[in-house]
């Protein structure tokens, strides 16, 4: 890289274009040492992510006793194991759809910067940064039979008896909304603001009312971003863990798949079975993501701006 027989400009140009061929046509391509900067990063991901995954995959097929497929056969034959897939989907899919359905129109409404927008987005980022453990602890008190939420509803004579909102399905569902909605909203907002606002103006000048602008211009251009957001929000909801334990009924209606995996690993110390469950969890997420991305492929993709900049 620093050979001195190069002209300074040629040298700089080589660095710019990253072209391997420099210093005459016949010179062998020297190795680009800048690429060495990637080695620690790649090494880390391979050792701490790829290898454990591969190891887990192999482990899942080598149970302490029985044939290679014993874990998977067991998982899919015991309803308390395979049922967790549907328990989790029953929480993750409705909460994801609801969060996105709420976030899209609101983000559209707030696409134009306004006074206090930063304050609002800051307020929304708080539950995400606090994380699920704290939200679960807060909800336990807030939604409890003596909590402020039930008290307000009773004071307003909307209900006669406190609603049972903790230690069941609804507690987990609400915690997925409290952390999932801001996440979906902020992701979608960043996509919406990435759409050239002159497109909306152009549509308006051609007579499109706000809803028509949304339906014909913003929604189609937003589709790729929506698909991505759906995947991220769904994957997060599908791997729900602390709130399902703390705020749900981990033995029954909110026994999600991550609880099953955790129990296998840290209560029965059956790492082989735990790995198998983790692989199933990954596979379900992958299936949903691939389905969404395939659907996305049918939409327009390309720049979301209206011409030359």
């Amino acid at each position: 890289m620093t050979s001195s027989n190069q002209t300074a400009w040629g040298h700089a140009w080589g660095r710019l274009t990253g072209s391997a061929r420099r210093g005459g046509d016949d010179a062998p391509a020297p190795f680009d040492r800048t690429l060495l900067l990637l080695v620690p990063g790649i090494l880390m991901v391979v050792l701490l992510f790829v290898y454990p995954f591969a190891y887990g995959l192999v482990l899942s097929f080598t149970p302490a006793e029985g044939g290679p497929f014993k874990n998977y056969v067991e998982f899919f034959s015991q309803s308390r194991l395979w049922g967790t897939i549907f328990t989790t989907l029953w929480l993750a899919l409705p909460s994801t759809i609801l969060n996105i359905a709420l976030a899209v129109p609101i983000a559209f409404k707030m696409r134009v910067p306004f006074a206090g927008q930063r304050l609002l987005t800051t307020a929304l980022v708080v539950p995400i940064t606090l994380g699920t453990v704290l939200v679960a602890e807060g909800l336990l008190t807030y939604l409890g039979p003596q909590g402020w939420f039930n008290r307000i509803l009773m004071a307003g004579h909307l209900i006669a008896q406190p609603l049972q909102l903790t230690h069941n399905y609804w507690g987990v569902m609400l915690s997925l909304i409290i952390t999932g909605f801001p996440f979906a909203f902020l992701l979608i907002l960043s996509h919406v603001t990435g759409i050239d606002p002159s497109l909306g103006n152009a549509a308006a000048s051609l007579g499109a009312r706000p809803f028509a602008q949304f339906r014909h211009i913003y929604l189609p251009l937003l589709a790729p971003g929506l698909a991505m957001t759906f995947c991220l929000v769904f994957v997060q909801a599908f791997s729900v863990f602390p709130s399902a334990v703390l705020l749900g009924a981990p033995a029954g209606p909110t026994r999600v798949i991550s609880i099953a995996a955790y129990e296998a690993a840290f209560e029965s110390y059956d790492y082989s079975m735990a790995s198998a469950i983790a692989m199933v969890m990954g596979a379900v997420q992958l299936i949903i993501i691939v389905a969404v991305l395939v659907a996305r492929g049918r939409f327009y993709r390309g720049p979301a701006s209206g011409g030359k900049a």
Binding site: S198, N201, P220, K308
Partner: protein, 378 residues
């Protein structure tokens, strides 16, 4: 393209007699971006809003389109007040600076969008889109996406999309600024052709005086949010109302004179460094001092026999020569300072030449505070 029955003006399409801008004003916080612009646009008229960037011309256009609320004033389409309407109810056509073509729709769908918003029946919409495609010569590209078109073609789509809905008024925001020089000339011609064919009132924002001069029926020159002059291209070019407009119209020689004395009518004499020139007064009152503006093209080379010194001619030394193809641009050092002249013959630096300044092309502006500042900035 559809010609119109003279029915009452409607929200879209149709005819109108005049669009009145009545002292429209736009303030951002404490800054006045547009100060009391009044203008009447007649049917079929092509108006150019001309000025440097930040002069308020784009603000004016955005206010007209309804993309920005007014801080004061009114916009009337005949006797109907429209400045309170949202953009989608004004029914104007707009061509955006970056074209703002919908990237996910074909050319045909882009053009048909406004018709769809107006519930125009499918068959009629298809017919009108086809007519417009013919008009802008894009029939071959009708089913492409905007991203597959060249800059000039995108420009045509943007224009077609704006005119297909028969708007009473078309707004164009620097539509040529993203094109290269050659294409810009071509599209300028194209815009003029389309305008002649459809006869729509048009308001065209630009910072390029050539564009404004060649396209517009009338030009509004703006600076710092304030209208400087409204007039036909000839009026602006030959008799700029003030030094700002003069500068914009290519009067490169701007010289302050110490004393002025009126002769008769608009004729007057100006004096500096012992030189006396005959000039033509612009503006109303002749003060004691004035500033003179001369276009390089209006200076000519005199010959010592026919143009004696003193009769509005000056001797000087050539200090810089620039070849421009058809003619030469020379800087000449004279008793009143360096003058820029465009001459039809070659010259060499150091050469002495005589310049003649025709009295009717030497424009004298009474020197107010603004003019003094303009000179200081030179």
């Amino acid at each position: 393209m559809a010609r119109h029955d003279p029915s009452k003006a409607a929200a879209s399409g149709g005819n109108f007699e005049a669009l009145h801008l009545d002292r429209i004003t736009r303030r951002f916080h404490n800054m006045v971006a547009l100060n009391e612009l009044s203008l009447t646009v007649r049917r079929g008229e092509f108006i150019a809003l001309l000025g440097p960037s930040g002069c308020g011309k784009s603000t004016a256009l955005n206010c007209l389109a309804g993309l920005m609320p007014l801080s004061g004033g009114r916009i009337m389409l005949d006797d109907r007040r429209i400045d309170t309407l949202p953009p989608e109810r004004r029914g104007f056509g707009m061509v955006f600076q970056n074209y703002a073509l919908f990237p996910h729709m074909s050319v045909r769908k882009n053009i048909g969008f406004g018709l769809m918003m107006r519930n125009v029946p499918e068959k009629e919409a298809a017919r009108r889109v086809n007519e417009t495609l013919d008009l802008v010569q894009l029939q071959a590209h009708a089913d492409k996406l905007p991203g597959q078109l060249s800059g000039g073609q995108q420009q045509r789509v943007a224009i077609a999309r704006a005119i297909v809905v028969n708007p009473p008024l078309i707004l164009m925001d620097e539509p040529l600024s993203n094109l290269d020089a050659k294409l810009r000339l071509e599209m300028r011609h194209e815009i003029r052709r389309i305008h002649h064919e459809v006869q729509r009132s048009t308001i065209y924002v630009t910072h390029d005086q050539d564009e404004a001069l060649s396209l517009a029926d009338r030009i509004v020159v703006m600076q710092d949010g304030v209208v400087q002059q409204i007039g036909t291209p000839e009026q602006l070019y030959n008799a700029p109302a003030n030094l700002n407009v003069a500068r914009f119209m290519g009067y490169r020689n701007v010289i302050a004179f110490d004393a002025c004395s009126p002769l008769d009518g608009r004729r007057m004499q100006v004096h500096r460094n012992g030189v006396t020139l005959n000039a033509t007064l612009q503006g109303d009152v002749a003060g004691h001092r004035c500033t003179v503006a001369i276009r390089p093209d209006d200076l000519r080379i005199g010959d010592p026999e026919n143009d004696p010194e003193g009769a509005n001619s000056l001797d000087g030394r050539v200090i810089e020569v620039e070849y421009c193809g058809r003619d030469w641009l020379v800087d000449v050092d004279t008793a009143i300072g360096v003058l820029h002249a465009r001459i039809p013959q070659a010259a060499t630096p150091g050469q002495r030449i005589r310049l003649v300044l025709p009295a009717d092309r030497v424009l004298a502006y009474p020197q107010g505070r603004d003019a003094a500042m303009a000179v200081a900035a030179e």
